[in-house]
C-alpha cells in the first residue's frame, strides 16, 4: 500500500473522512463499553444525555469548553506559525496567578474596572511565560518543544511554592490554596442561578478576534507565511523573528485567559488542581480543529461534551471515565488519518 497525492480532492473526499473518524471512534467506545460489561448503546446514550441532554448538562458542557477554547486557540495560533507551544498549561497557571495576585484585595476597584484589569494582567503574565522560550528560540535556536514542555513542570512547582508560602490563605486550614477573590473580581453568571459565566462569552470573543487577526490583518498573514515556509518569508522581507515573538505573546496570552476565566468564573481561588490538563487538551482541541480558530470552538465543545458526558455516564453505570480519554485519543488519531486521506489516496498493489 502506498499513498499518492491528490491534487484536486472531491467534495466527498473532503467531507467524508471526519465523519468516518467519528463513526469509528463511537464503535471503539462501544466495544470498550461492552468489555466493561455494559450495554454500549446505553453507555453512548448516557454520554450524549450527560453532555447535552438537559439545560444543566449543556451549560456544564459550555462551562467545561470555556478553558479549552482559550488553550485551543493558544495552541492553534502558535502551531500555525510553527511555534510549537506545548506550554499552555504553564501559561494558564500564569494567568491564574496574576488573577489571584491582583484580585484578592490588592486592588479594590468596581468590577467594571477590576475585571478587565485582571484579564489584561493575566494576558501579560501568560505572554511573558511564553516569551522566554520564544526568545531562546530566535536568539539561540533552542528547541521550543523542550523548553515550553519543561517549563510546565517548573511553573507548576513555582505556583506550588507560592501557595505554600506568600500566597497561602491564612484561613485555608493548612491547604495549599490562595485567598478567595473579592466579589468584584468574580466573573458574573450570564444567567442568574446557572453556572455558566461570562468567561464563555469572552472565549467566543477571543475566537472571533483570533479569526479576524488570522484572516484580515498583516500579522495574521505574516504568521501564516512564517508557518508555511520560513525561508520564503525571510526572503520576501517578512521579519520572521519579530513575527515569532508576536505569535508567542498572543499564544501565551490566550492560554493565560483560560486561567483567568477558571479562577474568576468558576473556582474563586487558585489551587494546584485548577487545571486537569487543559493546556495539553488544548493541543487535541487545536489539532481536531485543523488549527482553525472558529473550528477550535466546535472542537472544544466536542471534547468538553465527551468529558462531561462520560462523567455522568460513569456515575450512572460505572464504566470508568477513562472511556472519555480513549475516545478523544481515538478521535484525534483518526482525525489525523482523515486529514491524510483528504490529501492522499491509498493505492493498493
Amino acid at each position: 500500500m502506498r499513498l499518492e497525492p491528490i491534487t484536486n480532492p472531491s467534495l466527498a473526499r473532503n467531507i467524508l473522512p471526519p465523519f468516518l473518524a467519528i463513526a469509528i471512534t463511537v464503535s471503539v467506545a462501544s466495544l470498550l463499553a461492552m468489555l466493561a460489561g455494559a450495554n454500549p448503546f446505553a453507555v453512548l446514550g448516557l454520554i450524549l444525555k450527560g453532555a447535552a441532554g438537559s439545560k444543566f448538562a449543556m451549560l456544564e458542557t459550555l462551562n467545561r469548553a470555556t478553558p479549552l477554547i482559550f488553550t485551543g486557540l493558544a495552541v492553534a495560533v502558535a502551531f500555525r506559525a510553527r511555534l510549537w507551544n506545548i506550554g499552555a498549561e504553564a501559561q494558564l497557571y500564569a494567568g491564574a496567578l496574576a488573577t489571584v495576585v491582583f484580585g484578592t484585595g490588592m486592588l479594590h476597584w468596581p468590577a467594571m474596572a477590576l475585571l478587565p484589569t485582571l484579564a489584561v494582567a493575566a494576558l501579560l503574565a501568560g505572554a511573558l511565560v511564553l516569551l522566554i522560550p520564544a526568545l531562546l528560540k530566535v536568539r539561540f535556536g533552542v528547541d521550543e518543544v523542550v523548553t515550553t514542555l519543561l517549563l510546565n513542570f517548573i511553573f507548576l512547582l513555582f505556583v506550588s511554592m507560592l501557595l505554600e508560602g506568600p500566597l497561602k490563605d491564612p484561613m485555608g486550614m493548612g491547604w495549599p490554596k490562595s485567598e478567595r477573590l473579592i466579589a468584584a473580581a468574580r466573573l458574573p453568571r450570564i444567567v442568574e442561578g446557572l453556572r455558566l459565566h461570562w468567561g464563555f462569552t469572552l472565549a467566543l470573543l477571543a475566537a472571533a478576534v483570533v479569526w479576524l487577526i488570522d484572516q484580515r490583518t498583516t500579522l495574521g498573514y505574516e504568521m501564516r507565511a512564517v508557518g508555511l515556509n520560513r525561508a520564503a518569508a525571510r526572503f520576501a522581507g517578512i521579519p520572521v523573528n519579530a513575527v515569532l515573538i508576536k505569535t508567542a505573546l498572543l499564544s501565551g496570552g490566550l492560554a493565560a485567559l483560560a486561567g483567568f476565566s477558571e479562577v474568576a468564573g468558576v473556582k474563586g481561588s487558585l489551587t494546584l488542581d485548577l487545571s486537569p490538563g487543559f493546556g495539553y487538551t488544548g493541543i487535541i482541541v487545536a489539532m481536531l480543529a485543523l488549527l482553525n480558530p472558529l473550528g477550535v470552538v466546535a472542537a472544544a465543545l466536542f471534547v468538553a461534551g465527551i468529558f462531561v458526558g462520560a462523567d455522568s455516564m460513569s456515575r450512572a453505570v460505572g464504566v470508568p471515565t477513562y472511556l472519555a480519554d480513549i475516545m478523544l485519543a481515538t478521535a484525534l488519531l483518526l482525525m489525523v488519518l482523515a486529514i491524510l486521506l483528504t490529501r492522499f489516496r491509498v493505492v493498493r498493489e
Binding site: 484536486n8 498583516t218 500579522l219 498573514y221 501564516r224 515556509n229 522581507g237 517578512i238 493505492v347 498493489e349
Partner: protein, 515 residues
C-alpha cells in the same frame, strides 16, 4: 551508436495513460528502449515527461497500459520492483541525505537492517571501482551536504549503478550543471552505454539532446508527437515539434549603459560551510545593461545574490546604492530601493506552496498601502493586483485563489516575474531565472529582462548556462571561489576563454592588472 533496430528491447512502455482529475498527463504513450541506447525524452514543462518516468519507476500507477523490463511485466506502483528489475532514476531534485557521507548515501537501503557493522570495506571497494569505471570521481567520505550540485548528481548516478541498474533515467540532469560538468556527465553516460546500459535522458536543452541521444521522443500535452533518430534531424526541427511552432530566440541588441546604480567595493562575506563567501568583490551594475555572471555553481554566487538581495551585509567593504551606502540593508529595504529579486529556487524561497496566488503575489508588498493600512489587509486590492499580474504576465491558472503549488514551474516563475516587475524596479537580480523552464517560458523570461533593461534598469543575470549568459549579457563577469573576474565586454570572450576563468585561471593576473 548501436544498431537500434536489431538490439534487444530492454524497456517497453505500452500505451501508458495517466489522468489527474481532468488533466490527462499521459495519453497512450508508447516507448521502446534498446540495449546500449540513449533515448531523449523531450517536451515542454507539463508535457508529461516526469509523470511518465514516475510511472515507469513505480511512483505513480498508470490508469492503463503496461511497463515491461527485459521482457517481463513490471508490477505497477512498486519502486522496489523497478529497482530490482534494474531501473535506476536520477531525479531532478536529488534524493540524498545531506548529513550522511557519500558512501553511506550510496549504500543506504542496500544493507540488511540487522547487521551490527556495515561492511564498509567491500562497499568502499565496489564504490571505488564503479567510480573509476564510469569516470565519476567523488570522495566517498565527504558529507553530501558539503558537495556541489554536480558532485551530488554523481552520487545519485553512483547510487543507481551500485544497485546494478541496467536502465538509467536522468530527469533534467544538466539543468544544474556547468558546461564542463555537463561534458563530464556525457563522458560518464557514454561509458555507461558502452557497458551495455540503456539511458532515458529527459531534457529541454536541444543541443545536448542532439549531442548525447541516439533517438528523440517528443511529448506534447501528454502524447507522443514525434520520434526520430538524432542523425536524421536538427535542433530547429526538434524545437518546432516540441512547442508546435518555430521558436524564435530573442534577438538581442546591445543595451545603452547608463550610470552605476549599485556598486560593490571590495566586499567580503564569510564562507558558509564549503560554499565560499565573497573575496574582495568589486562590481558595478549600470542601468540599461545586463551584467551576466557566469561560474560553476557553488563559487560564491549564492553569497553575492544574498548580499544584493538584502539577506546579508558585507563583512568588510561597502555596498552603495546610487553612490551612497544605505543606512540599513534588508530584503525590505532592497525592495523599497527599487530592487527586483528573482530567487534561485522558486519552490523553496520564491513562493509559499500552500499560499494562494494572491497571497504569493503580495509577499513583498503586503505591509504597505494599498495592500494594507495600519495592519489591516485589503484583500480586494491584493486580488486586483494579482489579476493584473495574471493577465499582464500570461500566468495560466484557474484563478487567483488557486494554491501556487498546483502551477507548473513556468507559470510559477511568471507570477514571480509579475510580482517583482510590476513595481518598475531599477535594479533586477535574476538568479537562475530560467532553470527548469521550457523554451516558451525561457523566451518569455528573457524578453521581460530585456524589456526592463531597455527602459533603463540594471540587470544582474546569474546563470550556470553559459549560452544564456552569452546570448543576453552586455558585460560578463566570471566567479570562481568567491572571486570576481574583471568585466568583459560583449563579444570579447569565447566560451573557452570564459571556461578558463570559470576553472579559476586568470584571477591572479587579473588582480595584478587591476592594481
Amino acid at each position: 551508436m548501436t544498431n537500434a533496430e536489431t538490439a534487444q528491447v530492454v524497456l517497453r512502455l505500452d500505451r501508458i495513460t495517466k489522468r489527474f482529475g481532468a488533466l490527462t498527463a499521459n495519453d497512450a504513450v508508447s516507448l521502446d528502449l534498446h540495449r546500449g541506447e540513449v533515448v531523449a525524452l523531450l517536451g515542454e514543462n507539463g508535457a508529461g515527461k516526469t509523470t511518465l518516468m514516475n510511472i515507469l519507476f513505480g511512483q505513480y500507477t498508470a490508469d492503463s497500459g503496461r511497463v515491461e523490463v527485459m521482457g517481463r511485466d513490471l508490477p505497477p506502483g512498486h519502486p522496489r520492483a523497478a529497482l530490482a528489475a534494474g531501473v535506476g532514476m536520477v531525479h531532478q531534485h536529488f534524493t540524498l541525505a545531506d548529513n550522511l557521507s557519500v558512501l553511506e548515501n550510496v549504500t543506504l537501503g542496500t544493507e540488511p537492517l540487522w547487521r551490527w557493522r556495515a561492511e564498509d570495506a567491500a562497499a568502499r571497494a565496489r564504490l571505488a571501482r564503479l567510480a573509476s569505471d564510469f569516470h565519476l570521481s567523488v570522495d566517498p567520505d565527504a558529507k553530501v551536504g558539503s558537495l556541489t550540485v554536480g558532485e551530488r548528481q554523481r552520487v545519485e548516478i553512483l547510487k543507481a549503478l551500485y544497485r546494478d541498474a541496467r536502465i538509467l533515467i536522468l530527469d533534467e540532469p544538466t539543468a544544474v550543471l556547468t558546461p564542463q560538468e555537463t561534458d563530464d556527465l556525457f563522458v560518464t553516460l557514454r561509458k555507461a552505454v558502452s557497458n551495455g546500459l540503456s539511458i532515458i535522458f529527459i531534457s529541454h536543452k536541444l543541443h545536448e539532446v542532439m549531442e548525447i541521444a541516439d533517438r528523440v521522443v517528443i511529448l506534447r500535452h501528454g502524447r507522443v508527437v514525434a520520434g526520430m533518430a538524432t542523425a536524421k534531424t536538427d535542433r530547429h526541427a526538434l524545437a518546432a515539434a516540441m512547442v508546435g511552432s518555430e521558436v524564435s530566440a530573442p534577438r538581442v541588441a546591445p543595451g545603452t549603459p547608463g550610470v552605476a546604480l549599485l556598486q560593490l567595493r571590495a566586499v567580503r562575506t564569510p564562507d558558509r560551510g564549503n560554499a565560499p563567501g565573497l573575496k574582495d568583490v568589486t562590481l558595478d551594475l549600470r542601468g540599461g545593461q545586463i551584467t551576466g555572471l557566469a561560474g560553476v555553481s557553488g563559487n560564491g554566487q549564492a553569497a553575492l545574490a544574498d548580499l544584493i538581495g538584502g539577506l546579508c551585509i558585507p563583512d568588510t567593504g561597502r555596498l552603495d546604492l546610487d553612490g551612497a551606502c544605505p543606512v540599513e540593508w534588508s530584503p525590505r529595504v532592497a525592495v523599497e530601493s527599487g530592487l527586483a529579486r528573482i530567487p534561485e529556487d522558486r519552490h523553496k524561497t520564491g513562493t509559499i506552496a500552500d499560499f494562494s496566488l494572491t497571497e504569493n503575489a503580495i509577499l513583498e508588498s503586503y505591509h504597505k498601502a494599498p495592500m494594507s493600512r495600519s495592519g489591516w489587509m485589503n484583500w480586494r486590492q491584493a486580488e486586483a493586483k494579482t489579476r493584473a499580474i495574471l493577465t499582464g504576465y500570461d500566468v495560466r491558472c484557474p484563478g487567483p485563489d488557486t494554491p501556487i503549488r498546483l502551477l507548473s514551474g513556468g507559470n510559477m516563475q511568471k507570477l514571480i516575474l509579475g510580482r517583482v516587475l510590476e513595481a518598475n524596479p531599477r535594479i533586477i537580480l535574476a538568479n537562475q531565472p530560467v532553470r527548469g523552464l521550457d523554451i516558451g517560458a525561457v523566451n518569455y523570461v528573457h524578453e521581460q529582462l530585456l524589456k526592463a533593461r531597455d527602459r533603463g534598469a540594471a540587470v544582474l543575470l546569474i546563470s550556470e548556462d553559459l549560452d544564456e549568459i552569452m546570448a543576453l549579457s552586455d558585460v560578463i563577469h566570471v566567479m570562481s571561489e568567491g572571486r570576481l573576474s574583471p568585466e568583459f565586454a560583449r563579444g570579447t570572450m569565447t566560451p573557452a576563454d570564459l571556461g578558463l576563468w570559470m576553472a579559476g585561471h586568470g584571477f591572479d593576473e587579473g588582480l595584478a592588472h587591476a592594481s
